[in-house]
């Protein structure tokens, strides 16, 4: 387990002694319900200074509510929120040292771009010279020099979202909250903006808390990812950890593609998948214990039938650009296989998996840990 490296950990469940100053924001056992629906369930988390943290999960997992609680737009039913060690649970939004870039287009349409950006500074009665200087700087940061006098109506979606970011960062918040700011943009623009955001974070040196349901976005930008489902944390870790070592079927299924199996842990380092004994590296799952296993499609090696652990037959082949995506039927399971080498349809093949690439996980103890697409 490499979670000690992680910027974000379960504050209560992790016993390590991390200095208090690292915890810029700390959520302690936060719960929130809307009617009968429990959106956040005893949620604890802390965020370190200067990190890019992503809250990742499907729609309705509570990530936006969490962000709104941080922004001050919702009050938790239970639990406290500390900011730099100070309780801000009941502090009004306008008193918090953080700014939000909203999912929806929230520019002020009766104001020019410059007036939009200057709004927060005006509220704080900054001098005209300062406002001009900071506005120009913010415009420069988001790459929209010369847009000061434009009206929001005349901006494209990407430009509008960049202005929204400029409007937030001009106030020099300690934390910038971003609620799916790129979801309305097209793919190309979204990718460009992802790099822009990373660059901005580097330049400004402030903490970003980013909400998304797009796992690619999360993997691309984050220092740490919090995978959420049904108001609970599923896993916290670096993008690599989350991808390579999912802790449960939900995370495995939600992040990237994968072959997920109902398997049996025979004993340490031996797991029975589809009735066949596979070698693995995991230990400590007991003997003859049901487990979940995930094997990433790029980790499945296709060899000649006699060399494989189990045999199968290629059912379909799709060209995906960098790789081929193949469907291999072996032991009545459709294996998803990614490979740069094409094996023609109808070819009998053997399947081989490096023991290191077989990820064994405990069976879900709660419904929220189950894979969303699990058959």
């Amino acid at each position: 387990m490499s979670s000690f490296e992680h910027a974000v950990v379960f504050a209560l469940s992790i016993p390590y002694n991390i200095p208090m100053s690292y915890k810029l924001i700390e959520l302690q056992s936060v719960s929130k319900s809307f009617g009968d629906l429990k959106v956040l369930d005893n949620f604890s988390l802390y965020v370190r200074e200067n990190e890019f943290l992503t809250l990742l999960g499907p729609s309705g997992c509570g990530k936006t509510t969490l962000l709104r609680i941080l922004g001050g737009f919702e009050t938790p039913d239970e639990g406290r929120i500390l900011f730099d060690g100070v309780d801000i649970t009941d502090l009004a939004p306008n008193k918090r040292q953080l700014n939000t870039v909203f999912q929806k287009d929230t520019l002020f349409y009766h104001m020019s771009v410059a007036e939009n950006i200057a709004f927060g500074l005006r509220i704080r009665h900054a001098s005209k010279a300062l406002i001009k200087e900071k506005t120009d700087y913010a415009l420069h940061l988001v790459g929209l020099d010369g847009f000061a006098d434009r009206m929001p109506d005349s901006l494209s979606g990407g430009q509008a979202q960049r202005i929204a970011i400029a409007r937030a960062i001009v106030n020099e918040p300690k934390v910038l909250l971003l609620d799916e700011p790129l979801s309305a943009l097209d793919l190309k623009l979204r990718q460009d903006m992802q790099y822009e955001l990373i660059r901005l974070k580097e330049e400004l040196g402030i903490t970003f808390i980013y909400v998304t349901h797009d796992q690619e976005e999360a993997l691309t930008m984050s220092d740490s990812i919090v995978v959420m489902n049904a108001g609970r944390i599923q896993q916290i870790g670096t993008p690599e950890d989350i991808y390579n070592e999912p802790k449960n079927a939900f995370t495995a299924d939600f992040i990237g593609d994968g072959n997920i199996f109902d398997a049996l842990m025979i004993h340490d380092q031996h797991v029975s998948i589809l009735g066949t004994d596979f070698e693995c590296v995991d230990t400590g799952f007991g003997e003859n214990n049901p487990v979940d296993v995930i094997i990433r499609p790029e980790d499945v090696e296709l060899v000649s039938p006699e060399k494989g652990t189990i045999e199968g037959i290629v059912k379909s082949v799709i060209f995906k650009g960098v790789h081929y995506e193949m469907d291999v039927d072996a032991h009545n399971y459709h294996w998803l296989v990614h490979s740069t080498k094409m094996v023609p349809e109808g070819t009998p093949v053997g399947i081989l998996v490096d023991p290191f690439n077989i990820q064994v996980m405990h069976k879900p103890s709660r419904p929220d840990e189950e894979a969303a697409n699990h058959a």
Binding site: T106, Y109, H110, F119, I123, D153
Partner: protein, 621 residues
């Protein structure tokens, strides 16, 4: 297929639709410039009616009220409605949907229901109907319109912008005024203009919630028009039409979507016209502000009288001589007046019902006895009338005769050649399609019962059934059952014979000398209107003074010459200098004709229902 005739047909069709919609308004506008009083004759172009409007204190005060009520009610409704819309937006979606529906219902509600409910509420709360109640009513019915125009703006106003402003450090107040308010301002202005227009436009609700002396333009126009031809009202209606048209134009004139400086654009397209309209109206208001006079040094008297039933100079004279300020209110029928008195919503001091209505009010204990000791002038009233009234007002304790008249037949002397003296001519096949009957149950039955030799207050079912059958038999001969139009139709020679009141008969003869009036030998109805003082009068002493004043020979003569109704005052025929009136056989019928006439009595609810049932049978036959 020939496209050309098709195109022409299309154009004609469009033209016809527009004509259909605008012809009435066009007619009114044209007539407002017609120098002739008649609706049928073009007497040349004139601005006279408009000029007269400006010098009519009553109309100016109505204008004053209209603007004041519209302005205050729309401002208050805009504030309440906008706040309400913001509140609605913050609700969860289901309660919001329910609340919006609830807020919208009053708009769909029939005005008359709204009006009556408000009136009932005010009465239940023991509020005196007047300016305040009209104002409250207008605020109440305007609010949904404001909500309706603000809510969509709030919905499309990028909902997150309010939170974004908070996030950027603004307080709730700052976020509202700097961000939300400018965004929804067009909706607020539309709502304001809509409320303003609705207020100016409203008649029915105002009608039910207004009190004495408070008139808006629409209620004023209504009461004036009820009285008959008054071209000033065409002029006034034209002005009202143009005001509403202008307002609607401003509301619906949507500025094009502009990418640049939309705020400036908004100011130019909405705020400026709004401000202009208000400025003009406030100026108008200010310049007419002097109209409303202060209360008289000796208090006031609230008079509730028929429309056009007094010489306005008499009111001025009374105010000058007594120092009592007159608040003057008019009604059109006894049935309109009665519920206002019986509900007690308005404390009128002196009212002028017809004899049968006075009888009902006496029997229901709605009146208080007058003080004859302060009425020396009552001696000028002919005993004949007091004697007639003694039947329903024993001892003449309540009722003081003011005007009277008969019901008779008005005929066109060119169309009806041979002389007649009986109601039977109304059943003469010879005049098929040339007869106008009164569209009123008591009048129609009254003359028929008289013709059959019965009392016009008969409650005998056999007699009434006989009368009904007579009326059914007459129906094919009748051109129309009419009320106010008799006069105009006889002036226009549209019918040969009509049942008519003597006052109207006289007026018709003044405009068309080719008519004659007959009180048939079987006898007819004589009606008497007179002054009474309601029990809840606040200024009974002044009301007594008013009644006394009305009996003064000089005052009665002024009224007689103005209204041209028969007067019970025995000095008037000597005093009047108008020889045409003096010698009118319509206004001063022969004694023996009068002796054969009967007054209507109040029959009670049972017989009234019978009358109404039989009348429906006739109308639906």
């Amino acid at each position: 297929m020939n496209p050309r005739p098709l195109r022409i047909a299309k154009r004609i069709y469009t033209f016809l639709i527009i004509l259909f919609m605008y012809a009435p308004i066009a007619a009114m506008i044209v007539l407002s410039f017609n120098a002739s009083k008649s609706r049928a004759v073009w007497g040349g172009f004139t601005f006279d009616w408009y000029r007269r409007l400006v010098s009519d204190a009553g109309i100016l005060s109505a204008f004053n009220n209209t603007i004041l009520i519209a302005l205050i009610s729309s401002i208050v409704a805009t504030v309440i409605g906008t706040a309400g819309a913001i509140g609605l937006m913050r609700m969860k979606s289901r309660p919001r949907a329910v609340s919006v529906a609830i807020a919208n219902i009053p708009m769909l509600n029939a005005d008359i229901v709204t009006g009556i409910s408000l009136m009932l509420l005010f009465i239940a709360m023991r509020m005196t109907l007047g300016f305040t109640t009209v104002l409250i009513a207008h605020i109440s019915f305007s609010i949904p319109y404001v909500i309706l125009s603000v809510l969509p703006k709030l919905q499309q106003s990028r909902g997150g912008s309010y939170e974004a402003a908070l996030d950027l450090g603004a307080t709730h107040t700052q976020a509202f005024w700097r961000i939300v308010f400018p965004d929804i301002l067009p909706g607020i202005l539309s709502g304001f203009m809509l409320a303003f227009t609705m207020s100016i436009d409203d008649f029915i609700i105002t009608h039910f919630t207004k009190g004495p002396g408070v008139d808006t333009l629409s209620t004023r126009i209504y009461s004036e028009v009820r009285k008959g031809i008054k071209p000033e009202m065409y002029a006034l209606s034209t002005i009202l039409f143009l005001i509403v048209l202008l307002l609607l134009f401003l509301i619906n004139y949507a500025p094009e979507k502009k990418s640049s400086r939309s705020m400036k654009h908004l100011v130019l397209s909405r705020v400026v016209p709004c401000a202009l309209v208000i400025a003009v109206l406030v100026f108008a208001l200010h310049s007419t502000g002097k109209v409303s006079a202060a209360a008289g040094r000796n208090g006031e008297v609230v008079v509730y009288n028929w429309g056009e039933y007094i010489d306005p100079d008499v009111i001025t004279m009374f105010e000058k001589e007594t120092g009592i300020r007159v608040i003057y209110e008019e009604y059109e029928t006894n049935e309109v007046m009665y519920p206002k008195i019986s509900s007690g919503a308005i404390a009128y001091d002196v009212v002028c019902p017809s004899e049968y209505m006075a009888e009902r009010m006496i029997s229901e204990g709605l009146l208080q006895p007058v003080d004859r000791s302060v009425m020396p002038e009552v001696s000028n009233i002919e005993d004949r009338f007091f004697n007639v009234c003694d039947s329903f007002d024993p001892g003449n304790r309540y009722f003081t005769p003011y005007c009277w008249g008969t019901v008779g037949i008005l005929y066109n002397t060119n169309m009806v050649k041979e002389p007649f003296d009986s109601w039977s001519i109304l059943w003469d096949e010879h005049y098929k399609g040339e007869i106008l009957m009164q569209n009123s149950v008591r009048d129609a039955f009254g003359i028929t019962l008289k013709y059959l030799g019965y009392s016009l207050n008969s409650t005998d079912l056999d007699e009434l059934t006989e009368a009904r059958d007579m009326l059914i038999r007459q129906k094919p001969l009748v051109q129309a059952y009419v009320v106010d139009q008799v006069r105009d139709m006889m002036i226009g020679e549209e019918a040969a014979l009509s049942v008519i009141y003597s006052g109207e008969a006289h007026e018709t003869k003044a405009q068309n000398p080719n008519v004659g009036y007959v009180i048939p030998k079987e006898g007819s109805n004589i009606w008497i209107d007179g002054w009474v003082i309601p029990k809840n009068a606040r200024n009974a002493e002044n009301a007594n003074k008013w009644i006394n004043f009305m009996c003064r020979p000089d005052v009665a003569t002024m009224n007689f010459e103005y209204m041209m109704y028969s007067t019970p005052n025995k000095k008037v025929r000597e005093l009047t200098t108008n020889s045409e009136l003096k010698n009118s056989s319509i206004l001063f019928p022969a004694e023996e004709d009068l002796d054969r006439c009967e007054v209507f009595r109040y029959l009670g609810s049972g017989p009234t229902d019978t009358y109404n049932r039989l009348w429906r049978e006739i109308k639906s036959h």
